[in-house]
Symmetry: C2
Subunit: 193 residues, 2 copies
């Protein structure tokens, strides 16, 4: 095990102080994963048993709705990505994770992680905090989707992630915003006027 998981431990420690024993326990269930652009990190139909940390690159969670490809979310550097609706229910996910730029991930094996909760309450606490924060983000996103126009959401997105336009195809941004490519094009044309 020569891999360097310190980036991840550092990320975790900003949320929850971890004893050396906890840190080692976490590292022991991590693995490094490199995936080239346009490949799937996790396929549709697969039950999610790994939480990924993005060291480098971009990934997206996507699924098919009536035959069209929908992006549920993006994950950029220094963030976690997982299909929680499968992770927490144990059911196969209707969603996949695709890599949009050659990417380096750290994978955390979730059944092993959940086993650590008994021996290391601070690890359970860490992930409680992580998912509480993700939950709050998701509640706020509902407000954003439901009560802002697609145009407002587009401008919010490029404000919060200015480089995303250069890094992911517009069609994925359109489906992420809940609109068609055509609508997004119109919005962009309008903004350029």
């Amino acid at each position: 095990m020569t891999e360097d998981f310190s980036t991840l431990i550092h990320y975790f420690e900003r949320l929850q102080k971890l004893s050396p024993a906890s840190q080692e326990a976490i590292k022991a269930i991590c693995s490094a994963v490199h995936i080239p652009k346009n490949q799937d990190l996790q396929a549709i139909g697969h039950t999610c048993k790994t939480i990924y940390f993005v060291k480098k690159g971009i990934a997206r969670i996507y699924y098919y709705k009536d035959g069209t490809d929908i992006t549920e979310s993006f994950a950029l550097e220094n963030s976690l990505i997982a299909r929680v609706e499968s992770l927490f229910t144990g059911k196969p996910s209707k969603k996949g994770i695709q890599v949009l730029e050659d990417a380096d991930f750290i994978g955390i094996h979730s059944p092993a992680l959940f086993d650590l909760y008994d021996a290391f309450p601070e690890i359970e606490r860490l992930f409680r905090k992580i998912f509480e924060a993700a939950y709050v983000d998701t509640v706020n996103r509902i407000e954003s989707i439901q009560f802002h126009t697609a145009e407002e959401r587009y401008h919010d997105l490029i404000t919060s992630s200015p480089d995303i336009l250069q890094r992911v195809p517009l069609k994925h941004i359109a489906s992420y915003l809940g609109i068609t490519q055509v609508s997004l094009s119109r919005i962009r044309a309008k903004g350029a006027r």
Copy 2:
């Protein structure tokens, strides 16, 4: 303390087995609250420090968006309600909780609850599970909002909560669905044809 919190303990035990000591610790930070119809259980601007369990009645979380009253969610009997974006951040909430039918709640004081996490890991685990499940629901709700029409969401709602139509004003259902009363009326008229 003559109050009966056994409904709540029973609700919790379906998710996580609790020792008698944990049960007593939880009961010690609970209180019974009765609120009449149309009153606020928690006001807008107040920092959320109580998680409520609905024993009887209906409540909704609401806020104002450009002056119009928006319902974020409903809570019926045998469910928990809290403004998580305030609960987990400690910031004042822009949302309030209003009672739509005379209601009986059990309030759980959240700072006291979070203090229990150190002494009772199984209580921390219980609430981790509760909020993980709520998180999954919220992720699924985004899919529902973004990729189903208002009409589909209306029919989904009355399928999953058939009695809600009789119990809450349509205007709240409309804003919950992300549409105007007028649109909801149109959808209902269409269905009756």
